[in-house]
């Protein structure tokens, strides 16, 4: 077949807002914070006007328009140009238990109900796609009518714009849903939503226009480039401390009864500390040949067992390894993800359970797995402003027989950790292979798998003839972890993407590649520590291969597991396994991992 010669796609072939004119960019450059940026900090190939022209979009919002919803994954920050935006946690009306069907009978009931009430209404109730997503095509199907969000019970409407502009979703009853007291108002010149964009995590709050407003959307790629300006970087850090830190702390269960005044004291004393490298995959690959104990010893140490407890650590993003010394090595006891606490047991033991006894040192070590952002609250602040407001039954129990005591010999660590614990070997394995990052980790039970490859065939059939995973990978006992995208908690593949082609689905959090904007730069494939992204040749609709007009080389695009989102429901590989050998589990969550382990093994 004769190849078609085309020009290789470029990073800025698809600007975020094709309607953004040069005059708009000029106006933006005149306002803060862009007016205060130092243009010499930006490279000639990606100048400040270029970033604004290609990575930004002007949004015209009317009163009630929803910018984003709490829980959605977001890849953009927003700058208010005029008007006012409310940052709030939507309070859903009490509408009883979840409507999601459960079990076989639930599905039968749903099918029967769908027949009775009509598929249109039913689809809206159970569709996987969020009606508030900003994809206009999805929303067109709802015909502009009011939408009852099944999760929150809040009624939204759809407001159609022109063909090129995405349809806006608006809140129908602002006073009924938003309580004015619990709302942070964001005015002109203020930035919001940058934290979720930078950490690739779900939104902490919903953003709704309180008045007719103009907002500038800055996608993550642009935001990263803008951080080359030190003043802007400092502005982001300050903003986090001033506005997001309190929200962040309030989300942690133990902080929910802390009065506002005390919380502000905690915020003022909290230190933001990062460990490891953001692009940790390079070091991970380099260290792959080293022994496990060498690798652990090389991990950035956050806090070490035996040391005096100086405060409370909270993991803001990334993962940390909780371990203790065993023999001459280190034994992994758990991994701590976003929102996880470290050091609380020792403080509670000292100040609540046994105030008359001498303090106990830290009983475990905490090390950064790759890259970790932490919050550190000094001990005196914890004791004064946090401990008095934690319910007694939520406090950790006293440390019965501490291994470490000041001026006392070290006790040997027991090998047996109890029947409720996960196999320590599995934990070591998951962390060593960084599989603790996966939210949809593919696991194949080799005791059931007949190697028939029906899963691979199903994958190939649903992806144009080429499978997007390989049935090969690291094995622990009977469990194989094949080379399939795990839709990571912290998707490092997204860090370097220049066009934002690799992104999270706003609703499901699955990591997707937009074929229209992928320029085949290989950055994601090279940064994926698990080699789960492959570069594949691009073909025209008629099947002819595309090749670069300058070099004559084939045009490539990144390809990986998309969880068969177009198909709906479970992925094809899971459905196709005749022996129930293939499952998808969330290895990033210790509870989910424990459930799976005890169901399958114990």
């Amino acid at each position: 077949m004769v190849p078609i010669t085309v020009q290789r796609p470029d990073r800025w072939d698809h600007p975020l807002d094709p309607h953004l004119a040069a005059s708009d960019v000029k106006r933006l450059l005149a306002i803060r914070p862009f007016s205060q940026m130092d243009p010499s900090r930006f490279s000639a190939g990606a100048s400040l006007p270029d970033i604004l022209r290609h990575d930004c979009r002007l949004l015209r919002l009317r009163r009630g328009d929803v910018v984003f919803r709490e829980g959605q994954y977001g890849g953009s920050a927003y700058l208010v140009l005029s008007g006012q935006i409310a940052a709030t946690v939507l309070q859903p009306p009490d509408h009883g238990a979840s409507d999601q069907p459960r079990g076989w009978w639930g599905r039968v009931w749903r099918r029967w109900r769908r027949r009775r009430v009509g598929p249109e209404k039913e689809r809206r109730r159970y569709r996987r796609d969020d009606p508030s997503a900003t994809d206009a095509s999805k929303r067109q199907a709802d015909g502009g009518r009011a939408i009852l969000d099944p999760e929150s019970g809040i009624r939204f409407g759809t407001r159609f714009e022109s063909e090129e502009r995405p349809t806006q979703l608006f809140l129908q009853d602002i006073p009924g849903v938003i309580n004015e007291e619990g709302v942070a108002k964001i005015g002109p010149g203020e930035l919001f939503g940058e934290l979720a964009a930078v950490t690739r995590s779900p939104r902490d709050f919903s953003a709704i226009a309180l008045r007719d407003s103009w907002v500038l959307e800055i996608r993550w790629q642009g935001l990263r480039l803008l951080q080359q300006d030190p003043a802007f970087r400092e502005l982001l850090n300050e903003r986090y401390r001033a506005q997001n830190l309190a929200i962040h702390l309030r989300e942690i269960r133990l902080f929910r009864f802390v009065p506002e005044e005390q919380l502000q004291q905690i915020v003022a004393a909290t230190q933001l500390v990062s460990y490891g490298q953001l692009e940790w995959y390079a070091r991970y690959r380099r260290d792959a040949e080293r022994s496990p104990s060498e690798r652990i010893a090389a991990e950035p140490l956050i806090a070490e067992e035996g040391d005096y407890s100086t405060g409370l650590w909270i993991v803001r993003s990334g993962f940390a390894r909780l371990s203790w010394r065993q023999g001459v090595g280190h034994r992994t006891l758990a991994y701590v993800g976003k929102g996880g606490l470290f050091g609380l047991e020792e403080l509670v033991h000292q100040y609540v359970h046994a105030p008359e006894e001498p303090p106990v040192p830290l009983q475990h070590s905490l090390r950064a797995i790759g890259y970790v952002d932490t919050l550190w609250i000094p001990k005196h602040v914890v004791v004064k402003h946090l401990l008095p407001f934690i319910r007694r039954d939520e406090l950790p129990p006293p440390i019965e027989s501490p291994r470490y005591r000041f001026n006392a010999p070290l006790l040997d660590a027991p090998l047996e950790t109890g029947p409720a614990a996960i196999d320590p070997g599995l934990l070591e394995f998951l962390v060593d292979h960084r599989l603790n990052n996966g939210q949809q980790t593919m696991v194949v039970d080799l005791e059931r798998c007949t190697r028939c490859d029906d899963c691979v065939r199903a994958c190939a059939a649903t992806h144009g003839g080429a499978p997007v995973f390989e049935r090969t990978g690291p094995i622990y006992h009977q469990w194989m972890f094949p080379k399939a995208c795990m839709h990571c908690e912290d998707p490092v593949c997204m860090i370097g993407c220049p066009t934002g082609a690799i992104h999270r689905d706003t609703r499901t959090g699955l990591v997707e590649i937009n074929e229209a904007t992928c320029i085949g730069c290989r950055t994601c494939a090279q940064s994926c520590p698990y080699d789960n992204i492959r570069m594949v040749p691009v073909h025209s609709a008629a099947g002819e291969p595309l090749q670069d007009s300058t070099t004559g080389l084939p045009i490539l695009q990144a390809s990986k597991c998309d969880f068969c989102q177009d198909r709906g429901g479970a992925p094809a590989c899971y459905d196709a396994c005749p022996h129930d050998a293939l499952v998808r589990i969330d290895t990033s969550d210790m509870d989910s991992l424990k459930n799976w382990w005890h169901r399958k093994v114990a």
Binding site: T450, R451, T472, R567, A570, A572
Partner: protein, 271 residues
């Protein structure tokens, strides 16, 4: 509901369905009805039901339930069909065509049971090996191991001990590394040849110098690796052959069933 409870419910339902059919056919027979025609239609329906798994396995685009669920249904429907088959046939079976048809049905059932057993036992046996190999990569890996063994053996000829290892390689190991295993091994793979070769290699140690001993250890490791690859290949091939035979014979059986239905209806005077 746990998986075990679901299985028990399915098994009880199967036994009850077989009992109900038996009772129904007996009642029809006692009323001087034609029970064979009824059981024949039931068998034909069961055959169509069994073929649904084959169809489901080829539908990827839409969701029609998990194949694992369809396979569980297929297995129980297979037992149901076997029970109805026993009720359907008279004894002795008269007519050459009917005898062949009955034999085909039994062979298809037997291969189905074989596939079912193998799909439970083969994964456990494969898991006992230190490495998991993909079926399509095994021939290339076998060639790679043979090449490594060849290089080691050739290099050892220049050592102080002379051609001891090279000669052993030429006479004993070369056919093992470069030849394919017999059909008997594919049917019943065993480690006897590996054990014999490794034992013979160890016996050569007394004639070898330090470098020769290193090569001997490497060759022993390669023998083990080649045997693992052969074992993997044999077990996977056995399962694939049994499955292919089951599917192919099912189609042949289908054609014979169609002919049998036509003949039965003609004899009955329906046409």
């Amino acid at each position: 509901m746990t998986g075990m409870v679901k299985k028990q419910i399915a098994n009880i339902s199967l036994v009850m369905a077989i009992g109900a059919v038996w009772y129904w056919l007996r009642a029809v027979d006692e009323r001087l009805g034609d029970a064979a025609i009824l059981s024949g239609w039931l068998l034909l329906s069961a055959y169509v039901g069994l073929m649904l798994l084959w169809i489901r396995k080829r539908i990827y685009a839409r969701r029609w339930g998990r194949v694992a669920g369809w396979l569980a249904l297929h297995r129980r429907l297979g037992w149901f069909a076997a029970a109805v088959f026993m009720m359907h046939i008279g004894w002795p079976i008269e007519g050459r065509f009917e005898q062949v048809l009955a034999m085909s049905f039994l062979v298809v059932t037997a291969t189905g049971i074989l596939v079912s057993i193998a799909s439970r036992t083969v994964p456990r046996r494969l898991l006992a090996l230190p490495t998991d190999y993909r079926w399509e990569q095994i021939p290339a890996l076998q060639r790679q191991v043979a090449q490594q063994a060849h290089c080691q053996a050739i290099a050892s000829a220049s050592f102080d001990e002379g051609a001891t290892l090279a000669e052993f390689y030429h006479t004993q190991l070369l056919p093992f590394f470069q030849g394919s295993r017999s059909w008997l091994y594919v049917a019943w793979p065993s480690g006897s040849r590996r054990r014999r070769l490794v034992g013979q290699l160890h016996q050569l140690r007394r004639y070898l110098g330090p470098r020769g001993k290193e090569v001997e250890q490497t060759l022993a490791r390669l023998v083990q690796q080649k045997d693992d690859l052969d074992y993997h290949y044999a077990l996977q091939r056995r399962l694939r052959v049994a499955y292919a035979a089951h599917v192919a014979l099912t189609w042949a059986l289908g054609m014979m069933i169609a002919a049998h239905v036509v003949l039965a209806l003609r004899f009955q005077g329906a046409w």
